[in-house]
Amino acid sequence: MPLKDRIPMPEQDPKLRITNFDEVALGYTEEQALMEASRCLQCPNPTCIQGCPVNIDIKAFIGLIQEGKFTEGYYKIKEKNNFPAMTGRVCPQETQCEASCVLAKMGKPIAIGRLERFLADHEMYKPQQIETEKKNHIPVACVGTGPASLAAAANLAKKGYEVHLFEALHLPGGVLSYGIPEFRLPKKIVNHEIMLLSDLGVFIHTDVIVGKTYTLQQLRREFKSIFLGTGAGAPLLLGVPGENLNGIFTANEFLIRVNLMKAYRFPEFDTPIKKGKEVVVVGAGNVAMDAARTARRLGANVTIVYRRSRAEMPSRAEEVQHAEEEGIHMKLLTNPVAFHGKDGWVQSVEVVSMQLGSPDERGRRKPIPIEGSNYEIYCDQVIVAIGTTPNPILKYSTPELLLTPHGNIVVDEQYQTNIPGVFAGGDIVTGSATVIEALGAGKKAAIYIDKFIKGA
């Protein structure tokens, strides 16, 4: 029997979607989910499971979809992952679970992420059945409210702990709230999955900067153990002349204004954003794609400038495809060397063409500037999306916390830092990674936090 094709994801038409911030991928209907699930071979030795960083029993939940048992399928996922509506949407499935599906060899892996999302969307607004251990009234703190802390909190709460989350911003969710745009991950869904956490008895304290409002030392007196999930939120800059001109944004500022502060609805919301006409986005990761697609929706003609070639683009393939469908241009093998402006405002990016040299130690070919190839790209806005590093606030107030030279927190194999009882996970430990890896770290740290407290 010939292998059937993957059921495509229904999507908003590109021409329409660049005029709104509504979700692009619309989700499977029951019928589509049943059809996609029917392609799964229910392998006796399912390789897909190892591809998922939290080892969801993929075979089992897809089997349950095949039987029409959606509720059971949903709880099968929830055994391992508390936030399937989010991961089903944003996981880089093509390099994780789906890459490990036996059908990937034929180029037609089961659409595991889409099925996961289907179950979550189908079930998450129903009353939840979650078994939790009896409350033990032992207080534990999680710092930050990104996926790492959310997962740590959920798993500790299920074990009966009294969990308090502390977030510097006024809304919880970390990158899920302030970074990933509405059209990829609607905030309604983020808020709902976080609310389900409150239902587990987790307390969320916003407006609290740990290291400023409370020091880590103070928290250590009040809480039996602490998990640090503070992310890698500080923006990197290119360090080239003219970078502080008006109209040049870091991707973080641009996305925080638009997503967290809802500047796309200015003046109904008070935070302003500049709407560019010709926008250059520097970088080619997920963040760059999000910034480019956001600028497009604000009405701009957008060009992505990236110093390597298409093969090296760190973004998910799906995001690059979405960006191109939306009319975003790509200038590859091109690197900014300066910004020029007038009256304080950016007017052009001076770039140099690049060529790829021999591979570096990680196998990536190093881009080398082609001498004398400089030219200018005219623009009225630039968004720099070349990565982030750990925020130094905690470091300033907690000099005893052991960090790598890059500012990441050093942990042992049990996620414990050099300070006893203080654990850490997610981007603050690994550097920028993925939502599911952060969720996985938080979840595993919760196991060791439980052990630490019970052993003490």
Partner: protein, 273 residues
């Protein structure tokens, strides 16, 4: 939600409010500020903590645009949506020696807590307090109490000496040994002060008023050219070395959203009419 527990008009369009936030009051150190989100659909704006008591933080602000006007309209008992903090570096607890503290306009709201702190650290303080005219001279009494000498300048000569703070500073610098100049006020004033002290190599700190969003070092909105690179004012400042600041990048950045700010303001005026 943070309750407004007291409100007082200290000068035309300038309010002093007390807001219940015991945890911030407890953590506060001079030099810190808070990020205030006035209402659910609001923007995050930085305001200096003027003073604290057991339960409350005190803030002095001038109504200049939509957010500050909305705060100005709030009544005792009303709730402010969010206040995050304290944030920003605490001012060093150091004896510099002879300090000239310059406060321009509503900068006096930041000068009072820093002046008190410098005084408590045993510094000898001369204050230059500048305003456009007499009714905008702020906190004369409070600043008098902590200074050896207080010079008031007004642009129109309606009070004190007619002229700018830099005129008074020039005179002091030519007659006295000054170990530190601390300037707080409009950016153009702080730039003028820095330009004056640079050739004389007098250590000069300024309290930068960069446009901010996060206040925690993650957005980069508040960045400013500094030395050979760039710093984030919210976590490395707000007090920074005036001789290191690249004023040419700071000044235009402050008016980046002028058009949008005017739209917000006119909509607000229409609403209240």
């Amino acid at each position: 939600m943070y309750e407004l527990v007291d409100k007082e008009l200290v000068a035309p369009d300038i309010w002093k409010i007390k807001v219940r936030a015991p945890h911030i009051a407890k953590a506060y150190k001079p030099g810190n500020f808070v990020i205030v989100l006035p209402h659910e659909r609001g923007e995050r704006i930085p305001l200096t903590v003027f003073d604290t008591d057991e339960e409350n933080i005190h803030i002095v602000f001038q109504e200049v645009g939509k957010s500050t006007k909305l705060l100005g309209k709030m009544k005792v008992g009303d709730q402010i949506q969010d206040i995050m903090g304290p944030t920003g570096h605490a001012f060093p607890s150091q004896k510099f020696g002879n300090v000239v503290l310059i406060a321009g306009g509503v900068g006096a709201a930041t000068a009072v807590p820093l002046g008190k702190h410098l005084h408590a650290c045993g510094n000898n303080i001369t204050i230059i307090l500048g305003a456009r005219s007499k009714n905008l001279v702020l906190f004369e009494k409070e600043l008098q109490d902590i200074s050896e000498k207080l010079i008031i300048t007004t642009d129109d000569g309606s009070y004190g000496v007619k002229g700018f703070v830099t005129d008074a500073l020039k005179e002091i610098l030519s007659n006295e040994v000054v170990d530190l100049v601390l300037a707080i006020g409009p950016a153009v004033m702080m730039k003028a002060v820095s330009d004056l002290t640079r050739p004389l190599k007098v250590k000069t700190l300024v309290s930068l008023n960069s446009i901010m969003v996060c206040g925690t070092g993650m957005c980069g909105a508040c960045r400013v050219g500094y030395k050979d690179g760039t710093v984030l004012t919210c976590i490395e400042g707000p007090e920074l070395d005036g001789h290191m600041v690249d004023w040419n990048t700071l000044l235009p950045r402050l008016s980046m959203y002028k058009e949008e700010e005017a739209i917000s303001l006119s909509l607000l005026d229409n609403e209240s009419r």
